[in-house]
Symmetry: C2
Subunit: 467 residues, 2 copies
């Protein structure tokens, strides 16, 4: 360790004064450079993420691992020396995957008994214990389903419209396909189908299924719903395309239990001048119950903690309070987000920043800010662009902070590079080894920078003007 | 495959006219969007890279795999329908790693016989067959070596200054450390040392050594030189730091043989109006003999081929000639670069673009262009920024095209994100699975875009003005 220690001696903290009035641009940039160096050289985000992925890899809401994640978050904030650490109650659904999720080929006969890779969708009911056997109809969209309603009756519907890989922005491709997963089952049930299978939300062609939330419409029978791998979807499509009858048997053991109590985990660095004015940085503590939720959203959690910690380690307590909020239940209910808004919506939130697009290399931020507020934020993003988070573009902030928009709180989403995200999202592939330590650290520095700049502005950032 | 085929039918090539005069901004942007969609949806770069990494993983200059890579390149250009395909001769060194490269601990006695991970540096001589045993002195830089010259006599010198991980740009950190690898052996020999070991050029702490080129100074004894893993460097440093005597035995079998003939591989899409004016796109075909050279520089090769191919597939033959040049011997001699400049330096090169920083997500381009030329290039980069290659910054173009600067050819380097590059560079970790298909494809689209825009300008891009 000799060399690291000797380099450590070279590391001069450029701005180690306590509670200074915010200086000119040069002073602020020297602080921001300090965040970058500290994050890259003594960064804790990656080690924290390793802890989280180890102690609570499958932290679906109301699971044992989710409870472990809450305790990990509380303990980590204590180790960091955060102030006002507390668990704040919320009510969340409890969906349990169960031991079995299988999809067997019945026909084509030459493939009978082969298994196709699936994951039950979060919120789905089970099949009968022996499974649900039916012929398969494949559709690309709800219009086709409506047109072929007669044909779909009594069938398993395969929603097989791929994410459009031609789009540069994978999130745009995701938005163009995810309605199949979210509401496909009820659309299928409405025309008399008995089950729904959704092509996984990824542009990759592989055998890894991607789960995710779905919801049932009212006044329509509830039918079981799963996501199959893109390879499975292509196999089925190939058989249908070749004029073969496709008949499958799906077995799901999942179940929805009664809602239970859980917690958001919150810690602060209180402002020295206006502690009642708050800048939120946050991510969500829950994750799907496959892989480790390393990018979604372990990365956002450890970056949020690290962002506040970086400000503390450089002794840069700002005028206003930095509040780290790790939300519960983003994935299947947003119970944590609603509880936070209910408990804190009346407080003076100056800004809320969410990191929930993975821990990849920084590209910038998105924001719903308008007019002058957008301009101010853009000037601050410009100050910290050396992190690689170079641009501010119009967009949402994130699911967990979105209820605050009603109180005119400007929302910001951290925007890492998105090209790899849907290779991993909601799948067994979302593991620690897919996270790069430097990319994760630079994201934490970017979030720390923007949060600190806003929290330390001499004049409070104005509320977001009405649309 | 049903779905891919059906999507394929939806893919309307927006600008499939032949040899059009270059239109206004809208027309050009629709062509560029076509490059993006084709690269993402029907892209060939990743499959080509898989071929190259399979048929010629260890394509060090003058090796069997290098010969296989040359044949692969020629055959691939033929499959693509390139014009004027040829192998152009160059003379290159032949360095052979040999079967053995080992570093054993002799002291501390409690670790005697343990092996530390090393790779011989390219160009190094061998040790005696039984190895070279000596005490170790650790230094951080050449100044310290000079100061401790007496102490270094008869020793193995460990150059152990890490790449500075605090820097956002890993290339800057590399430039700050790589002199230890490149010329450390002769610096050590000049003070009487008997061997040199260099800490691997990476910010990671792991057990994977990274090789690379070194060169001997004249009139100084040649001593054997290897790179050790960062973990090995830290272990040695820890022992020294604890006041222990460190004595090691290094065994290298490598040797430099006589120079041999080899080839650059070239193919073109000739311009319809001014075929004698040339835009080069290129990368280097050779690689180090560990890993697969997937990022360095398999990625640059397949992106260069794909860039020209994209223009062909969209039927967008430009006014000027696009020339794809796959250079031999970038890593240890630049024989290919010098041969190309000697053979073609007098031709009218309008621009040369090199991709040799890996196949990661696009950030932009670097260029040595000045004045008006820089401004024109910047306006063209702006046109294709949807690829993610958003900026043009001042810098070099690349090793292989650099001799063209003497002829006032503006040089451009493709600039992908750099955070992961030195995790892999010149090591066994530089393999296909570290390359993301979409990131690679977007880079190819970016290179195709800039090359096509310049090749199809109504007025020829002026030569780079003198500094």
């Amino acid at each position: 360790m000799y060399v690291f220690r000797s380099l450590s001696l070279l590391f001069l903290t450029v701005a180690a004064c306590t509670s200074p009035p915010q200086g000119g641009e040069d002073v602020r940039i020297s602080v921001l450079d300090g965040f970058i160096r500290e994050a890259l050289f003594h960064g804790r985000a990656y080690d924290r993420l390793e802890e989280l992925c180890t102690v609570a890899p499958h932290r679906l809401s109301a699971s044992t691992d989710a409870a472990a994640a809450i305790e990990w978050a509380r303990a980590t904030m204590e180790k960091e020396g955060f102030e006002n650490i507390r668990l704040e109650p919320c009510v969340i659904p409890r969906w349990v995957r169960g031991a079995t999720e299988q999809l067997f080929v019945v026909e084509p006969k030459e493939h009978a008994g082969e298994r196709l890779a699936i994951l039950a969708l979060g919120g789905s009911i089970a099949t009968p214990p022996a499974g649900l056997e039916a012929d398969v109809i494949q559709v690309q969209n709800f219009e086709e389903l409506t047109r072929r309603a007669e044909e779909a009756r009594g069938k398993l519907v395969l929603f097989n419209r791929p994410m459009d890989s031609r789009l540069v922005d994978p999130f745009q491709a995701y938005r163009g396909a995810v309605n199949q997963r979210a509401i496909g089952a009820s659309k299928a049930a409405a025309v008399g189908a008995v089950g729904a299978i959704c092509r996984s939300m990824t542009t990759r062609l592989d055998n890894v299924p991607h789960t995710g939330g779905m919801r049932y419409a009212k006044r329509v029978p509830r039918i079981p719903s799963a996501a199959c791998s893109t390879e499975a979807a292509e196999r089925i499509a190939g058989w249908i395309d070749a004029g073969k009858r496709v008949r499958l048997r799906m077995v799901l053991n999942c179940r929805e239990e009664d809602p239970v109590g859980s917690f958001n985990v919150i810690g602060e660095l209180t402002g020295w001048e206006k502690p009642e004015e708050i800048v939120v940085v946050g991510g969500h503590l829950d994750a799907w119950d496959v892989g480790q939720g390393a990018h979604d959203d372990g990365a956002g959690c450890v970056q949020s903690i690290e962002a506040v910690s970086l400000v503390m380690r450089l002794d840069q307590r700002p005028r206003r309070t930095l509040r780290c909020v790790l939300f519960m239940n983003e994935e299947n209910g947003t119970g944590g987000a609603r509880a936070y808004a209910a408990a804190h919506g009346a407080e003076h939130h100056v800004l809320a920043i969410e990191s929930d697009r993975g821990g990849f290399t920084p590209r910038g931020f998105t924001s719903d800010a308008r007019g002058e507020v957008f301009d101010i934020l853009q000037s601050l993003v410009e100050l910290q662009k050396r992190t690689g988070a170079e641009k501010l573009i119009s967009g949402g902030g994130g699911v967990d902070i979105s209820p605050l928009a009603a109180s005119h709180v400007p929302l910001v989403g951290y925007l890492p590079d998105a090209q790899r995200y849907f290779d991993l999202h909601h799948s067994a592939s979302d593991t620690l080894d897919e996270v790069n330590e430097r990319e994760l650290a630079l994201g934490a520095a970017a979030i720390a920078s923007l949060a600190w700049l806003v929290a330390d502005l001499p004049e409070t950032l104005p509320p977001n003007p009405p649309r």
